[in-house]
């Protein structure tokens, strides 16, 4: 509950800095007006303890579980209980609906939700990261099974430029390349967890996306993406899977580490 509440109301400092840097470099006045409104919004949310965005997202959590830890029973139930409490207390907008009947569960939990992404790591602790995901950027995400002869970097740059405006640009671009049909979107999601990327290829793709001029909210400008990270896995010699998980400027996340003697927010 505490990590979700924090993620919803306080933007990670490095994200705020990235927006500030983009604003300083931006050449379009319209684009600068969007970025300064965003920075004002970040301040108001943190000062008032209110959600940055009314789309408080679907609850997604990353759990890093120490290998030497005996995994607490009912861990999933505990996280779901935290989501229900946060929905009531922060409060959050109830966003989770049945995909066919569109009936709202009312508390942001239900079949499959919260989504827990589990990693086993060395150590004797549990680290929990809340990563609420809004629909604007999620709807702009995509997966393609390319031909190995295609250029995946060019493909991603072109598709992101087309979609970023509706995904609340400036966006963060988590890219998965390789693996299988179901591994590649997980690579893209992990790329978002490890944002921003710093490899030569990450930077090249970032430059390529920003060169196209989609700009904040699609209104034109230099600031289309704030960060790009590419994660790869081996793939079949006949395949070239590519997935992109877009994240809006509000790259919300907060982590807490739980040890034997208690827990603290990172």
């Amino acid at each position: 509950m505490a990590v979700l509440a924090r993620a919803e109301t306080v933007l990670p400092l490095w994200v705020e800095e990235a927006i500030r840097e983009a604003a300083a470099k931006e050449r379009s006045a319209i684009a600068r007006s969007q970025l300064s409104a965003i920075l004002e919004n970040v301040e108001i949310a943190a000062a008032g303890g209110v959600p940055l965005c009314q789309d408080t997202g679907l609850p997604v959590f990353r759990l890093e579980i120490g290998r030497n830890l005996s995994i607490p029973p009912f861990l999933e139930d505990a996280v779901a209980e935290g989501v229900r409490r946060a929905t009531e207390e922060v409060p959050l907008r109830p966003n989770a609906v049945d995909p066919l009947t569109r009936k709202n569960s009312g508390d942001n939990t239900g079949p499959g939700i919260p989504d827990l992404i589990v990693d086993l790591v060395p150590g004797e602790f549990l680290r929990i990261t809340a990563f609420p995901k809004g629909a604007g950027s999620e709807n702009g995400s995509f997966l393609a099974m390319l031909n190995p002869a295609d250029d995946p970097i060019e493909f991603v740059a072109r598709e992101v430029a087309k979609r970023a405006g509706r995904a609340c640009a400036p966006v963060f671009v988590g890219v998965g390349i390789g693996g299988t049909f179901d591994l590649v979107p997980r690579l893209a999601k992990r790329a978002l967890f490890r944002m921003p990327g710093t490899s030569e290829l990450d930077r090249k793709l970032l430059t390529e996306i920003n060169r196209i001029g989609t700009g904040p909210m699609g209104l034109g400008g230099d600031s289309t993406a704030l960060g790009v990270r590419i994660e790869t896995a081996l793939c079949h010699t006949a395949s070239l899977p590519v997935a992109v998980n877009l994240q809006c400027w509000a790259n919300r996340s907060a982590s807490a580490t739980v040890r034997d003697d208690g827990w603290n927010i990172d």
Partner: protein, 163 residues
């Protein structure tokens, strides 16, 4: 109003997103009169009659109903991401304004609740009648004479040269 203008709005505004547009498209009569109205593509976060966070939702999902909406007399549509495919439906009759996406906390300071219509649709999908006071900054993104910033950004890399 011309594409590229920066504006602020004060007055009555109605939220409308997927479900309200679906009702409207099915010919259902809405409990409000949209002649001369401002509609806002938004599913707000509201608690006990107080707006806590209320930025725009992606207009692209409901853009296909623009002709019907304008036909009912709506003069300003506020959202994010644009409705470029339906820009023709605005010509000579209405404009599309972009409020900065994700800026829910900022918008909450500029909007207050007057009334909830269609409460059975829930918090996000209900039709909220809000009162705006100095609501902005908004960009006139698609004007009534065919100007469209989204189209310009897509076709000609204008971001850098615009004032």
């Amino acid at each position: 109003m011309r594409a590229g203008d920066l504006v602020w709005i004060s007055g009555t505004v109605y939220t409308a997103r997927d479900r309200v547009h679906a009702l409207l498209a099915s010919g259902e009569k809405l409990p409000i009169d949209l002649a001369g109205a401002v509609i806002y593509h938004c599913g707000p976060l509201i608690r006990d009659g107080t707006v806590l966070s209320a930025g725009p939702t992606t207009s692209g999902r409901v853009g296909r109903f623009t002709r019907e909406v304008v036909g009912l007399g709506v003069r300003l549509i506020v959202g994010k991401g644009g409705i470029s495919e339906e820009a023709e439906a605005l010509r000579g009759r209405a404009a599309y304004l972009a409020y900065p996406g994700g800026c829910g906390a900022l918008a909450a300071r500029q909007l207050s609740v007057k009334q909830l219509h269609l409460p059975e649709l829930g918090m996000a999908e209900g039709l909220w009648e809000l009162v705006a006071e100095g609501w902005g900054p908004m960009i006139v993104a698609i004007d009534a004479s065919g100007g469209d910033l989204y189209r310009e950004a897509r076709c000609c890399r204008v971001g850098a040269s615009k004032p």
